[in-house]
Structure formats: C-alpha cells, structure tokens
C-alpha cells in the first residue's frame, strides 16, 4: 500500500512542478485537474472516503469547470476585441477614399 502512496505522491509533485513551468494556460489547468484527481485517489489510500468524494466532485469537478469558463471568457474577449479592431481598421479606409474624391 505504501508503494502505491509513494507513486501517487511522486505524481503530485511532478504535476505541481510542471504547472509552474508550463507556458500555455490551458495545459496548466489540465495538469491541475489531474493533480486534484490524484489527490482524491490519495484520500482513498488514507482511508477517508468522505474526502475522496468531495475532492473529486468539488475539487476536480467544479474548480476545473470554473477555470475552463474563465479561460473561455478571456479567449472570447480577445476575439471580440480583434473583430472590433478589424471593423475599426476597415471603416477608416472608405473615409480616406471619400477625401480623395
């Protein structure tokens, strides 16, 4: 049983370290999701099933969903902004045309 725990804890440390060095935000959120899954496995090895269910449902489930929604929202704002810039860059062109005539 302890060998299994040691493996899980090694996984935990790898996940934690890789989160801080990963460049892409999506990757770090995914790694964090796996971190909390491994954590709920660890709770089971430590003989506390209550914690396992709660960590799985609340930690892995809800927190990761909130992270994904935040990233989506930020991504959405980026796209909206780029589309506005394109609209802004297109519309002055016709005005210049107007002045030439």
């Amino acid at each position: 049983m302890t060998v299994f725990q040691i493996i899980l804890m090694g996984l935990l440390i790898i996940c934690a370290v890789s989160v801080s060095f990963s460049k892409n935000l999506l990757n770090s959120v995914l790694i964090y999701m796996s971190f909390s899954l491994v954590m709920s496995l660890l709770w089971i090895c430590l003989e506390s099933p209550d914690l396992a269910i709660t960590e799985a449902a609340v930690g892995a489930g809800i927190t990761s969903v909130l992270f994904f929604v935040t990233l989506k929202k930020i991504h959405a704002i980026n796209i909206a902004e780029k589309s506005e810039e394109q609209k802004a860059s297109q519309c002055p062109a016709p005005e210049k045309g107007g002045q030439d005539e």
Binding site: D50, A57, V65
Partner: protein, 326 residues
C-alpha cells in the same frame, strides 16, 4: 582682517550659511523665509500643454518595466528574496516534520480520548453510521455552520462582481457596460453529440447526487459532495441545452428563494440544537434506529439543505461566470 571675498564666492562658504541660519533668515528645512510678498501665479495654456506632454513622457519612461534599470533590479531582487524565503520555509518545515510523531502510529497525542469518544459513542449519541458525518453535523456543528456561510459569502461576492443588472431606468451600469451580456455568439449551436450524451448522462448524475445526499449519514459523502455532483449535472445540462432550456425551471428567483429557505432552515435547526444543548434542555428530535434512512436526528434534513445550497451555488457560479445572469 581677512581679504574681502567676492560676493558669490562668499555665498558658498559655510560661515555665510551658518550666520544666515543663526539669523533665522535661511532655515535648513524651509529654505529662506524672506519677507517678499507673493506675486500672482499666472497659468498660460501653451506652457501647461508642454508640461502635460513631458509628464506623460516621463511617466512612460519610469514605468516601462523592460528598460528601467532600477525597476528591473528591484524586480530581480524581489524574486531572489522570495525564493530564498520559500527555500528557508521548506527547510524549516522539513525539520519540524522530522520531529513530529510518526504517521500511522497508533499511540500518539492525536489519538486521545477526544477521538476515542467519537468512535465509541458516536453511533448512539448522534445516530449516524458514518462517524465523520456525525462529527461535522452534530459534535462540531458550529464549524460547519460557519462553513456553509463561507460558501454563501463567496456567492455574494461573485454576484457583486459578475452580475449585470439593469438599474431602474433600464440602461446597464456604466462600469460594466463593456461586458457583453450574451455569450451565445461564441459557442456552437445545439451540438448534437453533446445533447445526446447529456440526455443520457444527466439523469444518472443527478440520481447519483441525490443518493450521496440521502446516504450522507450512512455511507461516505454528505451534503457538500452530493450538492457538488448535482451542480455538475446541472452544468452539463446547461452546456448541452443552453440557457433557454434551463430558464424554464431555474431562474434567479428560484435560486434566491432555494438558498434562503435551505440556509435559514439550516441556521434555525442548528441554533435550536445549540440552544437546547447549552441550557441542558432535552431536544425533541428522535435519533431513529441506526442504519435506516430516516435515522440520526437532524443530520439527514441538514444534509438535504446543504446539498440544495451547494447545488444551487455551483450552478450559480457557472451561470455568473458564463453570462453574468441566469
């Protein structure tokens, strides 16, 4: 006596400064306080404009992180000191852990008469088969009361931050007008695969969640985990079928009233048991036969209340993050 020095050279000597200070004429702190009347300060617009431009230029130079030498140095210094502080903290913690009692050992200060009583008389005092559930909802109920209020405060703050309200005159709040209210533009319309899977998975998830809540006092799980599972089910349903479908049965009013009723029930039930406990009155809540669903006094209704609150909160979080409304 000494050769007369020219005036401006004399002004630089220490003696001049000392005597003018002595005279009370020139003050080291306030500069010279001579008696000339203050002439009127006239502001001409052109000079002011130049000031503005210079000011912005200086500001840009001062605050751009990349080239400013002191800021970069300060930044690197800050990083170095915090890394050192963290390493020192880690070393300190590891040393303390090496002195702590061994984990897994049966005889250590943690396993004292407090834990013994929970295990031995936990069943007949609280009626809950799951001793942990009995402990958090009966022995140390005040913590869990505080706990659900932590969740409630977090919901309030998220509502403050993300809820887009139309004030009385109808136009949105000037501060948050740049948050576009409807996110539906960026997501694929009724994605067929997701809807099929959701129509199959959502009922199972919700039944599983209800099972966890109801068996909170019998097996592992309880209000929090069951509520989170149901919340996850609702979020999956929302993702698959969009806000129009969920608004049929889950609007802001239902959220508000569910939270209100379950939290106030939770508060009143627990304060009843605190009051009767503190004044040594006999509380009329039956313990029921251990192992049956309707056993262990207040724990089942409390679990249901907490489950409802957590489910609505998780759904509200997702809806707020997604659309700033329900």
């Amino acid at each position: 006596m000494s050769k007369r020095k020219p005036a401006e050279e004399y002004h630089k000597t220490f003696a001049f400064h000392f005597f003018s200070w002595l005279q009370g004429e020139k003050d080291p702190y306030l500069g010279n306080v001579e008696m000339k009347p203050q002439e009127e300060y006239v502001i001409d617009p052109e000079m002011q404009l130049r000031h503005e431009k210079e000011h912005d230029a200086i500001l840009d130079k001062v605050y751009d992180m990349a080239h400013n030498r002191e800021l970069r140095l300060f930044h690197r210094l800050y990083q170095a000191t915090s890394i050192l502080f963290c390493l020192f903290l880690m070393a300190l913690l590891l040393v303390t852990i090496s002195h702590l009692p061994a984990t897994g050992a049966a005889v250590k200060p943690v396993n004292n008469e407090v834990a013994a009583r929970y295990i031995e008389s936990g069943l007949e005092e609280t009626g809950a088969v799951n001793i942990v559930a009995g402990m958090i909802l009966d022995y140390r109920a005040f913590d869990t009361l505080g706990e659900s209020h932590v969740l409630f405060v977090a919901t309030i703050t998220v509502l403050i931050m993300l809820r887009l309200d139309k004030n009385k005159k109808g136009e949105p709040n000037p501060l948050t007008r740049d948050m576009n209210p409807n996110d539906r533009i960026y997501e694929p319309k009724n994605d067929a695969i997701l809807q099929l899977v959701a129509s199959f998975l959502v009922p199972i998830i919700i039944i599983f969640g209800i099972y966890i809540i109801l068996n909170g006092h019998l097996g592992p799980g309880g209000g929090f985990s069951g509520g989170a599972v149901i919340g996850a089910g609702l979020i999956l349903y929302l993702n698959a079928f969009g806000f129009s479908k969920t608004e049929r049965f889950f609007t802001e009013k239902t959220y508000k009233w569910i939270c209100f009723f379950s939290l106030s029930f939770y508060c009143l039930a627990k304060s009843y048991s605190f009051y009767t406990g503190a004044n040594h009155l006999h509380s009329i809540i039956p313990k029921g036969t251990p192992g049956a669903i309707l056993s262990s006094g207040l724990i089942l209704p409390l679990n249901i209340a907490v489950g409802l609150v957590v489910a609505c909160t998780m759904y509200a979080f997702y809806a707020m993050f997604r659309k700033g409304g329900f």
